[in-house]
Structures are given as C-alpha cells and as structure tokens.
C-alpha cells in the first residue's frame, strides 16, 4: 500500500455526514449488510455519525453552503477559515476571533458583526430544527 497524497482535499463535516449516511443506508437496503460483513466500517460509521449529528452540519444542505460561500467572498477569508465557519457556525465575536486569524487587523468590528449575521442568515440553526424534528417524531 502506498500513499500517493496524504493531504488531498479537505472535506466539510456535512460532506462526511452525507457519505456516512449513504454507507449506513446501503447496509440496510440490500446487497450485503455491512453490519455483518464489515464490522470495522459499521462501528466507525456509527460513531462518527453520532458525533456529526450533534454538530452544526446536521441541518445543512449543499445549496445552503453554496449560498453562504458566495456571500462571504468579499471578506477574503482563507479556505480553512471558511471551512470552520461552516463546521462550527460561530455566532459570537469571541468565536469569530478564534476562527479567523488576526481578525483584529483584517476585519473591523462592523465586518465581524456582518459576518455573524451572514452566518445566522444562511446556515440554519440546528437547535431550532431539532425542536421541529422532535415534535414530528413525538406525534
């Protein structure tokens, strides 16, 4: 086994979530059940899904992410910063400063506020949608 490129593309949490949901779905639907034939895959997929479902990416869709990326173009953020904005969905200035390096020099306070409002506008709040889901399942 040789590693051609150990650092290829970086994936967002949402993409991994979708992939793993597909993997688990395949297992139940037919072909060969992965829980019996591939125990390693089944257990890591289950644990990772459980973790990801607690994060912000649960309620995201690819259109939402696309629109968000379009809207933050003007801030000239690095790839890693945009990725973390999507993964973590920061809503306070402290969190913003943490994610964006040297944010004091690169962004004014108004820009930070604008970025937060863009995050809140485009990326859905998982706690809000969870409530809806909870009600649906309760009924």
């Amino acid at each position: 086994m040789e590693v051609v490129n150990s650092k290829g593309a970086v994936l967002s949490n949402y993409e991994v979530l979708r992939l793993l949901q597909e993997v688990c779905h395949q297992g139940t639907k037919g072909k060969r059940n992965i829980t019996q034939t591939q125990t390693h895959l089944a257990s890591i997929a289950f644990d990772t899904l459980k973790y990801l479902e607690k994060t912000q990416c649960k309620s995201q869709t690819s259109e939402v992410i696309q629109r968000f990326l379009e809207s933050v173009k003007q801030f000239k953020l690095t790839k890693a910063e945009k990725l973390q904005l999507i993964n973590l969905r920061p809503t306070t200035p402290v969190e913003m400063q943490l994610i964006i390096e040297e944010s004091e020099d690169r962004l004014t306070e108004e820009q930070v506020e604008e970025l937060i409002s863009l995050v809140e506008l485009h990326l859905p709040d998982p706690t809000a949608s969870q409530m809806v889901n909870g009600q649906v399942t309760n009924q």
Binding site: M1, S6, E15
Partner: protein, 223 residues
C-alpha cells in the same frame, strides 16, 4: 477535520467475492482493510470516498484470488494544525485532560496548554480555571462529560507494528494500547479566548453585540 487521502494499493479479492461485480468487491475489501484504522502519517480512516482508477486484475500461481491495482480516495480524520474542534471531557489527571470525540478518543490537553491560573483539584478530580474579575475569583470547573472546545496544536503518529516475530501473536492492538502505544495522538490547547467549555462562551445570547470584555463579565456571572 476530515480530509481525503489518495492511496494506491494492490487489492486481493478472494474467490468468494467473485459473485459480485469487481467494483463492489474492491469497495468491500478496501473498507474491510482500512475502516477504523490509523494509517501512519495519514490519519484515522473512516470510509471509502471513491475509486479513481482500477487496473487490470491478475491471478498468481498458487493463489485463487485475483489481484487488482486500485487508486482510491479515502476519508480520513486528520484535523489540520490550529483547527478548532469540539469534544467531550473523558478523564482528567494532574498532567492534563483526556478528550473524546466519540469516534476518536486520543486527544490530550496538557497542563501547560490550559488557561493561566488553571489548577487540578484533587478532591473533585477535575481541572479548575480560577478566573479573576474585579477582585472576584470565580472557579470554573471542567467536569468530566462536559463539552469542550479546543485548538489542535500538535499531532503525533506512532508506529505500532510489532517489532519482531515474538510479538506477532495475539491481540497486538490491545496489548499496544496497554503499553501506552497509541498510533495517533492529537494535542489540544485551551489557552485562548473562546476556548474551553462551550458553556462558558455561549452563556447568554444578549452578549453578542457587546465587546469582548463584556463577554468576560458574562462568563464570570454564570459560574
């Protein structure tokens, strides 16, 4: 936190998988080989992303299996340096804290990468951040089971393949873990504004418009 690693490998497909299409058999074998394992200097393998190229299959004398050279991309857990992650505190001792992400358990936050004025409380068996604001001292406890946000500051891969044939018996991975050989360790830091327990910084939504100093006041109040 997740990346794609491009790997080339000669996949051995045993005869009992010949009933499936080559593609399905390759996917199954790759997932069986790599899922939930750490590859040295690559990261913790999660699941196959896609197969980029499939070579010719060969049958070698004396072996009923077919061998195919495959290039594929695999989803691996490997956070980049300075990435911010969230996890749950699993254990604490005088040297630092042990954080779990659910699917990955080997995150360590050492005592020297915590906030200043942090100390280990022997009676509570947890770390405490003594936060001082206007002559008021607040004890912010970091209890086991709490959600914690940290910054990745270092990673360490260890080759856990057995050294000699005498070690090659039994459950190596289990034995290695007992010897303190962990294949992939991430070191985290919580010594910055916004790091530490998630609940410290999201205490109250009213603070969003306030400046950083106001945030700190709120933190003090909730403790």
């Amino acid at each position: 936190m997740f990346q794609l690693a491009e790997i080339r490998h000669m996949v051995r497909i045993p005869p009992w998988l010949f009933g499936q299409t080559l593609n399905d058999a390759v996917i199954e074998e790759l997932n069986r080989k790599l899922a939930n394992k750490v590859v040295l200097n690559v990261g913790l393998c999660i699941a196959l992303f896609d197969v980029t190229s499939l070579g010719d299959s060969y049958i070698f004398p004396g072996d009923g299996a077919s061998h195919t050279r495959v290039t594929f991309r695999y989803v691996v857990f490997r956070p980049f340096m300075e990435e911010i992650l969230e996890g749950v505190i699993k254990a604490a001792d005088a040297d630092g804290m042990h954080v779990s992400l659910g699917f990955y358990d080997d995150v360590y936050i050492r005592r020297d990468s915590m906030m200043t004025n942090s100390r280990y409380d022997e009676t509570e068996r947890s770390w405490v951040w003594d936060y001082k604001i206007e002559d008021d001292l607040h004890h912010l406890y970091m209890d086991i089971g709490e959600r914690i946000r940290f910054r990745v500051v270092a990673e360490q891969f260890t080759d856990t393949t057995p050294a000699g044939p005498n070690l090659a018996e039994g459950e190596n991975t289990v034995a290695d873990r007992k010897d303190g050989k962990v294949p992939y360790i991430i070191y985290g830091a919580i010594n910055d504004q916004g790091l530490g327990l998630v609940s410290w910084w999201t205490s109250n939504s009213a603070g969003q418009e306030e400046e950083e100093e106001m945030e700190e006041v709120e933190v003090g109040e909730t403790s």
